[in-house]
């Protein structure tokens, strides 16, 4: 895809979401309410001890509030555009275009993420900072690393969502897989409790899946739960995971297009 087309699609994605003003405010509000709910539970876990699995009080508070913002940017669930187009038969139009649907949807999703980064990311951070006080990174480069990691997390999240949606090419309605992913995603990405709360063996298994790289990784980098070297390491792994997932999406899509029976009439 020519870069100009890609940028135009990113812009289109941004503008589309910029028109849903009521929905953006509603989403931000809900993120903040859940921020309070989760923050109090994790604070009760920290209790009077100075550290819990390597997070101090400010870090755990920031984990929750930054997490509520990151959630709006990476969007773990609730994306079924591709599935809906397969169901309705509109996918033919996407496949007839001279650009790969993966690139089209990726570009629009990046546009959405950019809009969310300016709105949904900021709101919980402001509320969290006022209500609890947040952890401010000690190392200046952390800010840049966190932005890089967040961008990669958006990519990883998109690729996983796309892959789940692609199952619609075989089963016609990926609803079951989408719900399964929404539930699994809650736990496996570190949204409900940090992945580091789990027993060692479970942590190992989870870090071998793409899930923590779309949520836990950018937050751990931002709140400096990991050292400078590990920050770079995490970003490196995120990049590898993203490339591998996009490659898988492409392979699966090629296979899927061959078996797809177009719906509608």
């Amino acid at each position: 895809m020519p870069p100009r087309t890609f940028v135009a699609l990113v812009g289109a994605g941004f503008r589309r979401w910029a028109t849903y003003r009521q929905a953006t405010i509603a989403g931000g509000f809900t993120n903040c309410v859940f921020g309070f709910l989760r923050c109090y539970v994790l604070l009760a876990v920290v209790g009077s001890s100075a550290h819990v699995v390597g997070y101090d009080r400010d870090q755990i508070v920031t984990y929750v509030w930054l997490g509520q913002g990151v959630l709006g940017v990476v969007t773990l669930w609730g994306w079924s555009d591709l599935n809906d187009r397969v169901k309705s038969g509109d996918i033919t139009i996407d496949l007839l275009r001279p650009v790969n649907p993966i690139a089209t949807y990726f570009a629009t999703d990046l546009g959405r993420a950019c809009h969310a980064a300016l709105t949904r990311l900021i709101a919980p951070l402001v509320v969290g900072a006022i209500a609890f006080g947040l952890y401010v990174p000690r190392r200046p480069q952390t800010f840049a690393l966190a932005v890089m990691s967040l961008a990669l997390a958006v990519g990883v999240s998109f690729a996983v969502r796309y892959l789940v949606n692609l199952t619609a090419f075989w089963v016609l309605d990926a609803r079951g897989f989408l719900i399964a992913w929404a539930i699994l995603g809650n736990v496996a990405t570190g949204l409900v409790v940090p992945v580091r709360f789990f027993p060692d063996i479970v942590q190992w298994v989870l870090w071998c899946t793409p899930f923590p790289y779309m949520f836990q990784a950018p937050i751990d980098i931002a709140i400096e739960r990991v050292g400078p070297l590990e920050q770079w390491g995490l970003i490196g792994v995120q990049a590898v995971v993203l490339v591998a997932l996009l490659w898988t999406c492409d392979r699966v899509q090629r296979r899927g297009v061959r078996t797809l029976v177009i719906q509608g009439g």
Binding site: A23, G27, F29, L37, R38, V41, V52, V192
Partner: protein, 267 residues
């Protein structure tokens, strides 16, 4: 009245028949719903891996509390939960179809949208409840036994009323349906943990303002025979049905005002 009841019964039967038509698929859905509720239980187990006490509750007590909350919410979600699709119905004009039929709009939407696969969630909750009751050393009296039945039911009515109130909001805020989630799913999350976990104005708002403390937390204290570290009087610990009644009033008012205000989208 009997005739109307007959119609609803027939509609429910039709829903059950339709949803169980593909047996294997339905069995999977049911099983899947059993599995997903384990997420809440796993979360609590993971938290207690890190800390021995949460808000003054040990693991068996916390499990009892979360099981009661889980069952209450699952019951409401099974029966009324799909009312949250209302904004979609308004957008697509389906609400108009419902309104021209000679039955109540709300009851039609509720009956037409039952998802009986969510029975699986209640089964899981009951399992955890039984384990928790045994582990938590609950001393059985007739009052406690009655509470174990009434609390999930009253809680379910409360959550159902909140679902309806939330859906009514979408008559005013068509795009902002997500606000309702903060109180439906947010209320569920609030009741999954002891109210002692929360502090400040947030606790006052959710626990007392919206009445969530009286739905699960207070009754659990009564079942466990404990006094409230927050110092609330004991009679309040039996107030769950009262809160349900109040919320039903709110829901009724919100729905009635909303539906009267409704103007079709014309689609």
């Amino acid at each position: 009245m009997a005739g109307r009841f007959g119609i609803y019964a027939a509609l429910v039967r039709a829903q059950i028949r339709a949803q169980t038509q593909y047996r294997l698929s339905f069995a999977f859905d049911l099983l899947f719903n059993v599995v997903i509720t384990f997420v809440d239980t796993i979360t609590i187990l993971v938290i207690f891996r890190i800390t021995p006490v949460l808000g003054g509750f040990d693991l068996p007590d916390a499990l009892l509390l979360s099981a009661l909350a889980g069952i209450a919410f699952a019951l409401a979600d099974l029966t009324v939960g799909n009312i949250e699709r209302l904004p979609k119905y308004v957008r697509e004009g389906l609400l108009d179809t419902v309104l021209v039929r000679p039955l109540g709009a709300l009851s039609q939407l509720i009956v037409g949208d039952l998802s009986i696969r969510r029975l699986g969630r209640i089964v899981q909750g009951l399992g955890v409840l039984i384990v928790a009751v045994v582990l938590a050393d609950v001393r059985f009296t007739p009052a406690v036994a009655a509470m174990l039945v009434i609390v999930p039911l009253a809680g379910a009515v409360t959550f159902a009323a909140i679902f309806v109130t939330g859906a009514s909001l979408s008559f005013w805020l068509v795009e902002a349906g997500e606000v309702a989630n903060a109180f439906t799913y947010g209320g569920r999350d609030f009741t999954l943990y002891p109210t002692t976990v929360y502090t400040g104005w947030f606790r006052r708002a959710f626990a007392y303002g919206l009445g969530f403390a009286a739905v699960i937390y207070f009754p659990t204290l009564a079942i466990l025979g404990r006094s409230d570290p927050l110092g609330t009087p004991t009679w309040l610990h039996w107030a769950a049905p009262g809160v349900a009644v109040v919320w039903c009033g709110v829901a009724w008012l919100a729905w009635r005002t909303g539906i009267r205000r409704y103007r079709s989208t014309g689609s």
